[in-house]
């Protein structure tokens, strides 16, 4: 009963679908306020920051990617250089080896040649010396022997042929004695 009494007393506009005007106006104003603040001030403000954040994140990613790319490039470069250096070193080593071998061979040949030259020269010299010595000796000895024989026999040996024969015989005797001497010394 109470409810009915209340309803009667409060003069309710019974159809709730008939909108009361003050609420209508206030509702629109209230919404307009909310819309205005969000539209003009708050959403642009947050959008700016969201954009900044997006850029910061994307910028960071880009930066990281760039750094990675650079690191990879540097690594590749380094590897290339290293490979090149290795290659170069191997090449140099091979070259050096080759050169060394060639040098040694050349030196050896040169040494050989020089040795032979020296030996040949020695031989020639010895031969020449010997020949010269022999000639000189023969001459001196011949003269000495002639003088000596002249003196000893008191006669001049005019006969040249005989003279020569005597000298030769004498010399042969001398040579034999020298050889016997030399072999005795060698022994």
């Amino acid at each position: 009963m109470n409810a009915l009494v209340n309803m009667a007393e409060t003069e309710v506009p019974q159809n709730p679908l008939i909108p009361p005007i003050p609420e209508f106006v206030i509702g629109l104003i209230a919404f307009a306020i909310v819309f205005f603040f969000l539209w003009k001030k708050l959403l642009p403000s947050i959008n700016k920051v969201l954009e900044e954040r997006r850029e910061a994140i994307e910028g960071g990613i880009e930066k990281a990617e760039a750094a990675q790319q650079e690191a990879a490039d540097v690594l590749q470069q380094y590897k290339d250089q290293l490979a090149e250096a290795r290659h170069e070193a191997a090449r140099l080593r091979a070259e050096a080896q080759e050169q060394g071998a060639a040098l040694i061979a050349e030196m050896r040949a040169e040494g050989q040649r020089q040795r032979e030259e020296i030996i040949a020269a020695g031989h020639a010299q010895v031969e020449a010396d010997r020949k010269q010595a022999a000639a000189t000796l023969r001459q001196d000895v011949g003269k000495l022997a002639t003088d000596l024989a002249g003196k000893l026999v008191g006669e001049s040996l005019e006969d040249h042929a005989r003279q020569s024969r005597v000298i030769d015989r004498f010399l042969d005797g001398l040579e034999e004695a020298a050889e016997a001497d030399a072999s005795g010394a060698a022994r």
Binding site: E9, I21, E23, G27, A30, F31, I33, V34, L43, L50
Partner: protein
């Protein structure tokens, strides 16, 4: 108007506090009178009643929240900003971009965001202690919002398609329909231009109205039965009150979401090219 103590008690608690089961006093169910409020005070001839006051306080609350969250935003957000951003992003991406696309929708983001949070907070008043009244259960509020939306999308349709194009858009004019074309045109015209704002607003209004009625019914019943053996019934009713409040929390978000989703769908329809 003549006022009795019972009526002013109605203002505060919507029912009489000394009326219980078995005390020879009838159950006073909530009804249409639960949605009518006497002016609490008036300024310059304008009467402020509870729904108007709640609408204004709610507006302040929304503006305050977003001001605190977004006025001095940081690239690395604080807690409040993070919550605000989550809500903003949900509406922007989940509703506006989903229906209208990023390019067309961008322009309407502030409108739809404002609409969602306004409707939601006005719904939310239903479960805020001491207020406990959904402002959107006063038909004026959803109706006003629905009309704003209506004007927006109808205006947009005319702007986009011209006068004839707009009518083709409203009526779904399509020559290939042949003989049924006149019928389709009449039905579509009626449903789009006349029924649409009504369904749009009533959907929200009726949900909140019914929700409030249910919560009020169980709340009042809990109190009313709190006498003697009635305490057992009262306990059941109390549990139902809690359940209904939880349910209402859910419905409030859903209805706000549906309201803005329909708004976007209407705007999208206005933008759509004729086939």
């Amino acid at each position: 108007m003549q006022k009795e103590p019972a009526v002013s008690a109605d203002q505060m608690l919507a029912f009489e506090t000394d009326c219980h089961l078995f005390s020879g006093c009838g159950f006073e169910a909530p009804g249409l009178h639960s949605f009518v409020f006497e002016p609490m005070f008036s300024i310059g001839g304008f009467d402020f009643n509870k729904p108007i006051l709640l609408a204004l306080v709610g507006t302040l609350a929304i503006v305050w929240f977003f001001w605190a969250a977004f006025a001095k935003p940081k690239v690395v957000p604080g807690k409040l900003q993070m919550i605000g951003e989550a809500g903003y992003d949900f509406i922007r991406r989940g509703v506006v971009y989903e229906t209208m696309g990023k390019k067309e929708g961008e322009k309407y983001v502030p409108f739809v965001v404002a609409l969602f949070f306004f409707v939601w907070v006005m719904n939310l008043w239903a479960v805020i202690p001491l207020a406990q009244f959904p402002v959107t259960s006063i038909f004026s509020i959803p109706l006003g919002l629905a009309l704003v939306v209506y004007i927006t999308w109808v205006g947009l349709t005319f702007k986009r398609h011209g006068f004839v194009g707009a009518f083709k858009n409203f009526t779904g004019y399509d020559k290939s329909l042949g003989a049924v074309l006149p019928m389709v045109v009449v039905i579509e015209f009626f449903s789009t231009l006349i029924v649409r704002p009504f369904t749009h607003s009533v959907r929200l209004f009726a949900n909140m109205f019914a929700g409030h009625m249910l919560v009020a019914l169980f709340t009042i019943a809990t109190w009313y039965m709190l006498n003697g053996i009635g305490i057992a019934y009262s306990a059941v009713s109390f549990i139902m009150t809690i359940v209904m409040i939880a349910f209402e929390l859910f419905i409030q978000v859903i209805q706000a979401y549906v309201f803005v989703l329909l708004t976007c769908s209407y705007l999208q329809g206005a933008l759509a090219e004729e086939h």
